[in-house]
């Protein structure tokens, strides 16, 4: 873990008159949330390992606008979107990868009409393509044979029909994937979407993340894997609420690959 990670910014690339192969849109959670920052770093380590020519926007990046839009504030969303688009287009960005399904969904689906046309990938899709091209190698390592369950993030799965990329990566780690009863198309939300992350839940008899965690615990897996920083927060809190921290870990798929490679 001692090795310094390399995180070039777009401004640096532009100063040298170069274009990176892909822009890594880090997102708010990936930049500021303590748990999510670990996912960001794990993904960067993988990018470094595979010698990917990438850059981040750094201080020029702003919230993609998803929470504002889904809270009903279309003005704020479009302000955010157009500000980001101005920056992205200014740098002539063509390809974007994100570790957050919300950034992924918004950039991919909602930016084009506002003038932002990019090829946008979720990090699990990007990692899958690196494996396919042989630029990154993954082996089971320390996860081999362990039981794992995958929680589908709504904005990767149902919203964009990507169920297989994360699962294919887990397969490469030679783990035993045990699906929850509600998975893929019928996967249940962790409770964070639609700006719920930023408010108290309405009155009910349970929190959504706790119910979802119970479903994950039913699989008696050692690891709950996911591909979203918000699901990460929700599921981690859920595991705490169930006092199950000693039996089960919540991890992002990128973290698992990085950790299997001892990065």
């Amino acid at each position: 873990m001692t090795e310094q990670i390399k995180v070039p910014t777009m401004a640096e690339y532009a100063a040298q008159g170069k274009q990176p192969e892909v822009l890594f849109f880090v997102g708010c959670a990936g930049s500021f949330d303590d748990r999510a920052k670990k996912i960001t770093k794990a993904f960067v380590k993988l990018l470094n390992k595979a010698n990917i020519d990438f850059a981040v926007l750094g201080t020029e990046e702003g919230c993609n606008g998803d929470p504002a839009k889904r809270a009903g504030n279309e003005f704020l969303f479009q302000m955010q979107a157009m500000t980001n688009i101005e920056v992205l287009n200014g740098y002539g960005i063509k390809r974007i990868v994100t570790t957050c399904p919300h950034c992924f969904n918004t950039l991919k689906n909602e930016y084009p009409e506002l003038g932002g046309n990019y090829e946008v990938m979720h990090h699990t899709q990007f990692l899958k393509s690196l494996l396919k091209e042989g630029r990154l190698k993954v082996e089971g390592g320390k996860f081999k044979g362990k039981k794992i369950t995958f929680h589908d993030p709504c904005y990767l799965g149902r919203a964009n029909n990507e169920y297989e990329a994360p699962r294919e990566l887990l397969e490469k780690l030679e783990m035993e994937l045990v699906e929850m009863k509600r998975n893929k198309k019928r996967g249940m939300c962790c409770g964070a979407g639609g700006a719920q992350m930023f408010k108290e839940p309405e009155a009910g008899d349970q929190d959504v993340n706790v119910l979802r965690t119970e479903q994950a615990l039913e699989t008696s897996s050692e690891i709950i894997a996911t591909g979203c920083p918000f699901c990460m927060v929700m599921m981690t809190d859920g595991v705490k609420a169930k006092n199950a921290e000693d039996n089960v870990q919540v991890m992002d798929v990128a973290e698992m690959i990085a950790s299997a490679e001892d990065l």
Partner: protein, 434 residues
């Protein structure tokens, strides 16, 4: 005198179809109260959806038991209706089983109808047991009290009675039984009537025949008042269903224009709007049914109240008030209320009510995680989430009535580009943190 039955039949037929047409025109008028939408895109995909989801019932079979039973009832319903054609011709012209001259093919047809009728009868009984004895959870949610609950059962009774009448009509038709062509099920029913004098049999047969066709006409007219309207509207509704990725929410064009103006230093914000520029809408988001789109209103009339959406809704699963099915039922109820208002006053007179608050509460709207589980679950491509989103837009953009914590998050986004109070200049600090 001999033409009296024919005349009575024609009167019943015209009245039945006439009243039905009247109500359907009301449905169309009410749907047109909504905002126009352009759905001329993705034509081939839309047709593919109609074949797969509506005709092919692909979403129904996600739940195999109810899906399978529903397919039987649905196929039975469509095929047995071929028989209605014969009944209508017989009724108008006073003929008896006009198609029987088709010979063995007729036997094949009637045979299939009889088998289907029996299967439908059994399926409908199983449906009734699931609803009332097993009490499947989704049929016993709070929005399913009163009329919606009775409605579900009335339809099942209707279907049971119609199927029984069809079989009895065949069983007591002496000449048909003697023909012994296609009476595969009714011959067993006929044995129950053995020993009954022919005259009585004839009376029973006529009674069953009349009740059957009058029942069908009554059923047709019942549709308008029922969730059963889906047997017709499911097809157009699926056609107009969402064809872009579920995560793609609509961008409000009116907002785009304003934001562009705000961000472009070259545009004079006080300049008169350009000739032909689209005028800003009077209102952002939706607080009543007229603000919704025609597709959303069609959705409301199409909803079968099956509750598959609510059953998958994480908010509802955890005891919150939100139920996507209730969103659709409320929209239809309010639309009907507006329609009646128009019937009475000639045009809509403000009744001091609206969809927001009088039907759908804010608490319900704010409980949604926008997870799309309801949209995915709906067997007829209804999108309750889009209504929730538009009502949230109204609350936030017209009333500044977001929950306080959300206002904090939005202010943060506005000021520092993140929903939390961190400085945008610190956005890359993670790089050097241990």
């Amino acid at each position: 005198m001999q033409y009296i039955p024919n005349i009575l039949f024609i009167i019943a037929l015209v009245a039945g179809i006439g009243y039905f047409t009247l109500n359907i025109r009301k449905v169309i008028r009410n749907i047109k109260l909504g905002q126009k939408v352009d759905a001329s895109d993705h034509t081939s995909e839309r047709w593919a959806n109609v074949f797969r989801i509506a005709l092919g019932q692909s979403k129904m079979t996600v739940r195999p038991i109810s899906g399978f039973l529903h397919i039987i009832v649905y196929v039975g319903f469509i095929i047995i209706n071929i028989e209605v054609l014969e009944i209508i011709i017989d009724g108008i012209f006073g003929t008896h089983r006009i198609f029987s001259s088709l010979g063995s093919f007729y036997g094949f047809l009637i045979g299939s109808f009889e088998i289907l009728a029996l299967l439908v009868l059994v399926s409908v009984i199983v449906f009734w047991i699931r609803r009332n004895i097993i009490k499947i959870r989704r049929f016993w949610k709070s929005e399913m009290k009163g009329w919606p609950k009775s409605d579900g059962n009335i339809i099942l009774y209707f279907e049971m009675v119609l199927m029984i009448l069809f079989l009895v009509m065949n069983a007591t038709d002496v000449s048909f039984q003697e023909m012994n062509n296609g009476n595969v099920v009714s011959k067993y029913v006929a044995s129950m009537f053995s020993g009954t004098p022919e005259g009585t049999l004839h009376i029973i047969e006529r009674a069953a025949w009349w009740l059957h066709i009058l029942g069908i006409l009554a059923f047709l007219n019942y549709l308008y008042f029922s969730k059963h309207l889906h047997i017709m509207l499911a097809f157009p509704n699926v056609y107009f269903g969402k064809v872009v990725p579920k995560g793609k929410f609509k961008n409000l064009e009116s907002v785009t224009n304003e934001v562009k103006m705000m961000m472009d230093p070259n545009i004079d914000p006080f300049a008169a709007p350009a000739e032909g520029a689209t005028e800003a809408p009077s209102k952002f988001g939706a607080s009543d049914v007229m603000d919704l789109s025609r597709i959303q209103l069609l959705n409301a009339y199409t909803c079968t109240e099956c509750g598959r959406c609510t059953d998958e809704c994480p908010a509802n699963n955890t005891g919150k008030k939100l139920s996507p099915r209730k969103i659709m039922m409320d929209t239809r109820d309010r639309l009907e209320e507006v329609g009646k208002n128009i019937d009475k006053n000639g045009e809509f007179k403000d009744d001091g009510k609206q969809l927001l608050d009088d039907y759908i509460t804010r608490e319900e709207l704010w409980a949604c995680t926008t997870c799309n589980a309801c949209v995915e679950a709906c067997p007829v491509s209804i999108d309750p989430l889009s209504i929730i989103m538009e009502m949230r837009q109204y609350l936030v953009m017209e009333q500044s009535a977001a929950p306080a914590e959300l206002n904090v998050a939005m202010t943060n986004i506005e000021n520092n580009g993140a929903p939390w109070p961190y400085n945008q200049m610190d956005r890359l600090n993670w790089k050097d943190e241990k």
